[in-house]
């Protein structure tokens, strides 16, 4: 009973082994198919990635470069057209209308450049990879540049009109020197001109173009300084009239004291008062001179502060973009090259 027939045991074992073999082969088959699929997908994906990187380098970057190259000439054309219209002469609104064509063309140019940038951005979304980082840096530099140029164009009528006779800003009203009979009058005229002018400067501080913004900050402070100095000089002039009265009074008192042979103490008192008035006159004089000198310097500097915006500041900013953007482009191209070098 204890010894079993060997034949009876082998049959169930065999039938139990069959599904094991079946499962094993299915697993193997699935594994092989999976590996095959993985290799194929990998290969195709790699191929696609290579192609898209090559396209990025060859086509999209060139397209972006071409589109970007049209932005600055379009901006220059607009600035020239607007200025010409304004010099015609024409009002600000009229000049805006007359330069509408150039403005449209500029917007067209930046629009194209921005969509070329968008195309490039869509190719490589991941900011983790080396190419992603280089794309990101290139995109940011371009966006800064486009914002800058848009701000340059959009805020130009504001900037250009600051010193025009027919403009609401009326900053040329700041140059009141010859129109005023007294320094108080100068101060009043200046304050009247400064209010709308500083308002216009404050508006310019919201520009997308930092050259205008920085100019507006400096200019606003310069005008504030002018106002302060106009007040000091006006006050100084008024004080001076008072000092003349005081001095006349003292002279009268001294003559009188001498005539009636006044006691020593009274004469001494008059001398002390005279000394005090003299000190006041000196202080007044020094404050007046300081303010007057700086008022004149402020007025004299103003035209060059305005001129420097285009002559120095904007020229320097554009030089900056001209240095950074091509460098970013080259780095992106080289980074793509690294990626394309066969593994």
């Amino acid at each position: 009973m204890t010894i079993e027939d060997p034949a009876s045991t082998t049959a169930p074992t065999r039938s139990r082994r069959r599904p094991v073999i079946l499962v094993t082969s299915i697993v193997l088959a699935v594994l092989v198919i999976a590996i095959g699929a993985l290799v194929a997908v990998n290969h195709v994906a790699g191929q696609q990635k290579t192609e898209s990187l090559a396209a990025l380098k060859e086509q999209r970057l060139n397209a972006l470069g071409d589109a970007r190259g049209k932005v600055q000439p379009a901006a220059n054309a607009y600035l020239a057209a607007y200025k010409k219209a304004r010099n015609a002469p024409a009002s600000r609104d009229q000049a805006v209308q007359d330069s509408q064509k150039e403005k449209d063309e500029f917007q067209q140019a930046t629009g194209n450049a921005r969509s070329a940038l968008q195309e490039l951005k869509s190719v490589n979304g991941s900011s983790e990879s080396a190419v992603g980082v280089a794309v990101q840096q290139l995109v940011e530099s371009h966006e800064d540049y486009f914002d800058y140029m848009e701000g340059l164009v959009e805020s130009y009528p504001q900037f250009e009109g600051l010193f025009r006779d027919d403009d609401a800003a009326g900053c040329n009203g700041l140059f009141v020197g010859s129109k005023a009979a007294t320094l108080r009058e100068r101060q009043t005229l200046l304050a009247q001109a400064a209010a709308p002018c500083r308002k216009a400067a404050a508006d310019l501080k919201d520009s997308k173009n930092n050259a205008y913004v920085e100019f507006a900050r400096t200019f606003d402070n310069n005008v504030a300084d002018l106002e302060e100095r106009a007040e000091v000089t006006a006050k100084g002039e008024e004080n001076y009239a008072g000092f003349v009265r005081l001095k006349d009074d003292l002279v009268k008192r001294a003559d009188e004291a001498e005539a009636r042979n006044a006691p020593e103490a009274e004469v001494q008192k008059i001398a002390d008062d005279a000394k005090a008035v003299n000190a006041q006159i000196r202080t007044n004089r020094s404050e007046f001179d300081f303010a007057a000198k700086r008022y004149l310097a402020g007025v004299k500097e103003m035209p060059s502060t305005v001129e420097n915006v285009f002559a120095t500041e904007i020229a320097a900013d554009i030089k900056h973009f001209d240095a950074v953007i091509p460098a970013r482009e080259q780095i992106l191209k080289d980074t793509i090259d690294v990626e394309l070098t066969n593994k």
Binding site: V133, R282, A323, R328, T341
Partner: protein
């Protein structure tokens, strides 16, 4: 009958299994043997290109720092609103910080190349990584130095020679008050600044402190005659202030120039050495290719 059918099905299954195993083994072999192993020519080419990218990336620091200085100087000098200053500072400094992060990432990517493990390359690469890492760190420090100098010297200290009336009656009092806020700003600016910059700020501090003391003497003088005398000495000392400040500034500029020149020279040398070795390594592949033909 039953056992015969079973054995043929078993044979079929075994055949299928063996075929599958062979196919799988084939893939294994393809992965193991046909896929290139060790350092390939392409690896060296890639590393050499990465080296060029890191090197040319360094050229961007100068324009970016100039941009930072221009934007920040204007807002510090002309704007009273702290938030506006903060905004400009954050935006411009963030740009440079991300620049450095990208450059550090590029160096790390190079370190991951198998080529840098090779004995003859490893040492040159280590030097390259150290030198360029130092250039990156130096530019990060330049950002801090520039910001600190702008905030103090271009901030409260600028008023000392811009807004005060030297011949005014209360010049001494104004000078002392303004100098105190300037000195406070200078002391704060030393925080996180490098040794050269701390020396610059300390030098300016000395000059301003000296002037402040002289103006304080004017204030402390009890009688008019003594005050006049003190005022005259302080006025004469004021004439020397520019010379003293220029000396401090020149010393600083020379120190900065010397240290940056050394850094750039060292980086260039390590770059040239790594480039030479990588080109030599490429030549070994060319030689091997020639032999094969």
């Amino acid at each position: 009958m039953e056992s015969g059918r079973g054995s043929s099905r078993r044979t079929g299954i075994i055949v299928v299994a063996v075929v599958l195993a062979l196919v799988a083994g084939g893939f294994g072999a393809w992965f193991a043997f046909l896929r290139p192993t060790g350092v390939q020519r392409a690896d060296v080419e890639r590393l050499d290109k990465q080296r060029g990218i890191v090197d040319s990336s360094m050229n961007l620091y100068d324009p970016l720092l100039e941009e930072f200085t221009a934007r920040y100087t204007n807002v510090v000098a002309e704007e009273e609103d702290e938030q506006a200053k903060e905004q400009v500072f954050n935006r411009e400094s963030d740009l440079i910080k991300r620049e450095s992060a990208a450059n550090t990432g590029r160096l790390d990517a190079m370190a991951a190349s198998p080529v840098t493990q090779e004995a003859e390359i490893a040492e040159a690469f280590r030097r390259f990584k150290d030198q360029y890492g130092a250039v990156i760190a130096y530019n990060d420090q330049r950002l801090i130095n520039t910001a600190n100098i702008t905030r103090s010297v271009g901030g409260p200290c600028a008023r000392l020679h811009k807004d005060l009336n030297v011949s005014g009656g209360n010049y001494a009092q104004e000078y002392v008050t303004t100098a105190d806020s300037c000195l406070l700003a200078l002391a704060g600016a030393k925080d996180k600044a490098d040794a050269d910059t701390v020396q610059l700020l300390g030098g300016i501090e000395e000059v301003i402190k000296g002037q402040r003391a002289k103006q304080q003497e004017v204030l402390d003088a009890t009688d008019d005659l003594a005050r006049l005398a003190k005022r005259t000495t302080a006025g004469v000392a004021l004439l020397e202030i520019n010379e003293a400040l220029n000396k401090v500034r020149t010393t600083y500029e020379e120190a900065v120039k010397a240290s940056s020149t050394k850094l750039v020279d060292d980086a260039n040398a390590s770059n040239a050495e790594l480039e030479r070795l990588l080109k030599a390594r490429l030549a070994t592949f060319d030689a091997a290719g020639q032999e094969g033909k």
